[in-house]
């Protein structure tokens, strides 16, 4: 079925511009078969455009990519036979029922009518949608729609799945369901390319991560390597009494041996802190010294911090131009 390449995706120098905006500016990717690979970056970073090129929906301006050894331009049709795409907008038909959506995709993939129906029933059951099978998708919740979307992607098991922000806009429960589904797929050997804005999502799921900004890969590695390269997470403390902030600053600085940032909120402080135990220790020290604490948290680095560390600029909101480019790419 596919050439014997050890890589599921092998892309080099992919570029794509929309009007004046260079949406993707020389992206290289090497994704091993059977892995979950995360592309992490803010809105407008070029993730969706990259995925759309790899799924043969957009032709790159320059560069090349092979999916399981097949060129995405000259062998687009072979690539389409191996991939499935779950887009940022749910790629299902809202005016049809859940069952009709899955039968439709099954028939288009070459299943006979009885096979397509049986497959639809099996998937609806597996994805917890059996009861909603006969309802129009426009009446589905966000989580149900996303599950149907993913079910539609495996009507015929693909070699590789492209998931573009599969949990954006979902409540935590639905998000966890989608994560469980993705993990199951990976265990069964399907390669997954996952776009996300959330470090936590990449951290939870991905074996390897590429951080993308302004159309370029700016860092690559395992989640652990990435976090280590970024440095520590941080301890954040909010006080009941802003008068006590100088005292809190002194105690934290002493306890953690790092510079304490005074936040705009007069009750808030933050300090770099790699390890949760030392953070807890520092909070205990604060309490012992009589500083009254409203709340505190110890967190791993957020995407903002990863960006700040990697690029020297925060993961700012996309510019208007980039928004247009991304919208065009999604349209």
């Amino acid at each position: 079925m596919s050439a014997a390449s050890p890589l599921a995706i092998d892309a080099s120098g992919l570029r794509k511009a929309f009007d004046d905006v260079q949406a993707v500016d020389g992206v290289d990717l090497a994704v091993a078969r059977g892995s979950i690979y995360g592309m992490l970056g803010p809105n407008g970073a070029g993730k969706t455009t990259t995925i759309r090129m790899l799924a043969t929906l957009l032709r790159p301006d320059a560069g090349s990519a092979r999916v399981f050894g097949h060129d995405i331009v000259s062998e687009a049709d072979s690539v389409r036979g191996l991939v499935s795409l779950t887009g940022q907008l749910a790629s299902v038909d809202e005016d049809l029922t859940g069952r009709e959506n899955l039968v439709l995709i099954g028939r288009l993939l070459g299943l006979g009518r009885p096979e397509a129906k049986a497959r639809a029933a099996e998937l609806l059951e597996a994805f917890g949608l059996a009861e909603a099978a006969g309802r129009l998708v426009k009446n589905y919740s966000g989580g149900m729609r996303r599950r149907l979307d993913i079910a539609a992607s495996i009507v015929v098991t693909p070699e590789i799945m492209f998931l573009d922000e599969p949990t954006t806009g979902l409540d935590p429960r639905s998000r966890n369901q989608v994560w469980d589904i993705i993990r199951t797929f990976a265990r069964e050997g399907t390669t997954i390319l996952l776009c996300t804005q959330y470090l936590e999502e990449a951290d939870q799921l991905a074996d390897g991560i590429a951080v993308i900004d302004h159309g370029k890969v700016i860092a690559e590695g395992t989640p652990a390597q990435l976090k280590a390269s970024v440095g520590s997470g941080s301890l954040e403390v909010r006080l009941l009494d802003p008068e006590q902030r100088p005292e809190a600053e002194r105690v934290l600085a002493q306890s953690l041996g790092a510079t304490v940032n005074l936040e705009a909120d007069p009750t808030a402080l933050s300090v770099g802190c790699a390890d949760a135990d030392r953070g807890a220790e520092a909070v205990a020290e604060l309490a012992r010294s009589g500083v009254r604490i409203a709340d505190f948290s110890v967190g791993q680095p957020s995407l903002d911090e990863v960006f700040l560390a990697l690029t020297g600029h925060p993961a700012e909101e996309q510019t208007a131009e980039e928004a247009v480019a991304e919208e065009e790419a999604a349209a």
Binding site: R52, A55, L57, G81, L85, G110, D180, S297, G299
Partner: protein, 282 residues
């Protein structure tokens, strides 16, 4: 700023891992769907939409129904001397009008698909790439036939009796539907160029209204000022209406049929490939 601790797996997840594993394991890749089977599947989708969203059908049939009733009873006496005579003159014209109005929806529904993201899935499937477009025509055909039936039945109810009988009516409907297929490519092109379904609707009706009003649907062209008369006589819609009158009530001039077919072929030859090209790049 900070993210919370890793969340535990969802309690009582709606999906069942064992069933999921089974669902993944049981598929073998079937042979590729043939072009015809893909087209028919998209046709089935179009028909399901007619069933699930019947409002769309209502929109397009109510206007022509109102036209038949209003024009016949308001202006019939003034224009043709009697409502009966005008009804017989008007009805084949409104049949054309009703079906051609419906073609605008081909563009609207294609644009709606694009804004919803479902097109991405279709385009990433290993199928004959124009299949979604060609298949949609089959769903459109259902709409055209419903619109045509409504007008013919209404005509019969208010006393219209086509001289060439049911066969003449069928032939006329067939010709109109054929022309509608060709014209619908213009609106699918529009559907791919404009940004929202509403924009397609507005632009579509802004072009279909003059095209149908500046024809011989409502009045004999020889009552018009010379410049307008020339335009009306050249308008392919006028030829289509004349052909329908001939097929339904006798006195068919084959030249009209030839002009209609030639126009249909030209529209399809230009706009079908254009639609397909734009769709692949959308």
């Amino acid at each position: 700023m900070s993210t919370g601790p890793a969340t535990a797996p969802a309690a009582g997840a709606a999906t069942d891992e064992a069933a999921l594993r089974k669902a993944l394991a049981t598929t073998k890749r079937p042979p590729r769907a043939s072009a015809i089977s893909a087209v028919l599947t998209f046709g089935w989708r179009g028909m399901l939409k007619v069933r699930h969203v019947p409002e769309q059908l209502l929109d397009v049939t109510i206007t022509p129904v109102m036209f038949v009733l209003m024009f016949t009873y308001l202006f019939g006496g003034a224009i043709a001397g009697s409502t009966g005579a005008y009804r017989d003159f008007l009805l084949p014209g409104v049949l054309v009008l009703a079906v051609l109005f419906t073609t605008v929806y081909s563009g609207v529904s294609l644009n709606t698909d694009l804004t919803k993201g479902v097109v991405d899935r279709f385009r990433s499937l290993p199928i004959w790439s124009p299949a979604p477009l060609v298949g949609a025509l089959l769903g459109d055909a259902v709409r055209y036939l419903v619109a045509a039936t409504v007008i013919v039945v209404l005509g019969v109810i208010i006393g219209y009796r086509p001289e060439e009988g049911p066969l003449g009516v069928l032939a006329a409907v067939g010709l109109v539907v054929l022309f509608a297929f060709a014209l619908s490519w213009v609106f699918t092109t529009m559907g791919l160029l404009l940004r929202s379904p509403n924009a397609v609707m507005n632009a579509g009706f802004m072009s279909i209204f003059p095209l149908t009003f500046l024809s011989n649907v409502y009045v004999q062209p020889d009552t018009l000022p010379a410049g307008l008369e020339a335009f009306v006589n050249a308008n392919p819609v006028s030829h289509l209406v004349s052909a329908c009158r001939g097929l339904m009530d006798g006195g068919l001039d084959s030249e009209n049929v030839i002009v209609v077919l030639a126009t249909a072929i030209a529209l399809t030859a230009i706009f079908a490939p254009l639609t397909n090209r734009l769709y692949r790049r959308a």
